[in-house]
Subunit: 342 residues, 2 copies
Amino acid sequence: MHQNLTIALDAMGGDHGPGVVIPAALDCIERNPSLKLILVGDEGIIRTRLGSSLERWGDRISLHHASQVVEMHELPSKALRGKKDSSMRVAIDLVKHGAASACVSAGNTGALMATAKFVLKTIPGIDRPAIIATVPSKGGHTYVLDLGANVECTAEHLYQFAIMGHELVCAVEDKTAPRVGLLNVGEEEIKGNEQVKQAARLLADSHVNFIGFVEGNDIFSDNVDIVVTDGFVGNVALKTLEGLAKMIGLSLKAGFEKNIWTRLAGLAALPVLKAFKQQYDPRRYNGASLVGLTGIVIKSHGNADRLAFANAINIAVKEVEKAVPGRIGERLTERLSEGKFA
Amino acid sequence: MHQNLTIALDAMGGDHGPGVVIPAALDCIERNPSLKLILVGDEGIIRTRLGSSLERWGDRISLHHASQVVEMHELPSKALRGKKDSSMRVAIDLVKHGAASACVSAGNTGALMATAKFVLKTIPGIDRPAIIATVPSKGGHTYVLDLGANVECTAEHLYQFAIMGHELVCAVEDKTAPRVGLLNVGEEEIKGNEQVKQAARLLADSHVNFIGFVEGNDIFSDNVDIVVTDGFVGNVALKTLEGLAKMIGLSLKAGFEKNIWTRLAGLAALPVLKAFKQQYDPRRYNGASLVGLTGIVIKSHGNADRLAFANAINIAVKEVEKAVPGRIGERLTERLSEGKFA
């Protein structure tokens, strides 16, 4: 490992703040001997929570005080203007100044995106960062972007999302030609809207392995690796699948808790149900990348627990090791020099 | 029951044609003594399939010959121009001429929509028909529209969808103020795109019980009855939930079929798994209405089986009994006369 594996954590972000971030940080420190973490936030609170761990891990855990916290429902513009010493902002600043090679926050998504974009800027050739994450699929998992950063997209934006998704997946999954699909509907005579149709033409002409249009159900199949869509559709699809998975989980649980006989049946079925639960455990999918920026910023679910937040840290580790923004930048520089972009 | 409960069935449509439509038709005839059915398609094939049932049910089952069949992947415009004697077209014609009060088809969605719109026309005040169907939710089920008829929608279209959904649900579910939500994303500073924001303003000013923006996961909650969105987003959400439900079902099945012990556990858990399967059985949700037309047209899934197709017929029955297009028409006439529409 050649990279500086130092990751800044917004210790105050999310529904649980340091109560989740610090235990998750300690889990990761324990498991990955190359990892260093900077905990950003209220020094007093963090120090108390860390207790003897601070001494125990020496220079592998450090503190960086930040006096403010971005609230979960604060307007991004307000956070950006008014909270220059927030734990979120300072964590991103540490990435900008090279003190950290990535940051992770469970804070307000809009504020994180706005701040990261303002501080880190987009890679030349990329107009807008996007949010990319994995969802479970038959073959393992599928990457989907954009998950909500851009509610209105042109064909060019969709095209750029595909390029970013391609480079990220090549890097992180060690693939050479991940299959890229453009999310569309199947019912129209000439399928889809103008943006999607034009993006398909751009992608057919590109270096990515574009397999054409895919539909919502294909996300879970094993015939596509990266599903590209705008942030409105992507966010609705993500929330829909989260909502359905939750409802199904609860109704299975209720079914087995109905009476003494169903409880006994549940006991018999426990190993199967446990394996099933683990396969779809949303905590294993926690951690979305704000891709297209000059640095690595990972967004954790606001209500992430210790295991889920640790997963988001692991995603940051992987992206640092694989130098994702650098790869995207190189590819875009090549293409800019070939005159492929306006 | 005052209505003429005669329903025309496109006997040739769908992946299985008469092999599914005719058994489903006989099931419905047997269960509902007021129902009459007209089977539209190749008379020879239908007569053979019906066998002695034709005589048995007297005038409750009749045949109407149609010499053509719309293929599942045929271009809607081609079907509309070139197949004026298709089983689909003739079934819709029967509705137009009053011989039937509704029709049901498992054929090509695009062709069905194009033909129905051409033959039946939209209700005055409605620009475009939409596709509405139910999906399972915590509280029972939620109506969602549009599911794919209109990939690009203005705020006015979304508004009209909400009005149609409201009237349909009031009629079919005997509700007075079903809760209408507008599908949106939760992450943006000023949420959503222009269409959604403007539609929200129109709905806030309308007679429907508009509860504001909802997100993808709310579809499955019990806090909304009708979710309004454009056909692109609605179709992706529907396909996403279908795909996830299928994957989850298969992986539970695989889990219980792993070895002799899991099979025994599955046997013990059978009553719970059966109840669970039934609750989410997509066949129970089969049948989408092409709402906004002057007549009732129900679209069945192409791969519907007997039980699923019978469910689509039942939806047609309910809409005839509740005179859904008439209700929507009356409401729109009122509003047109109040000058609420341009």
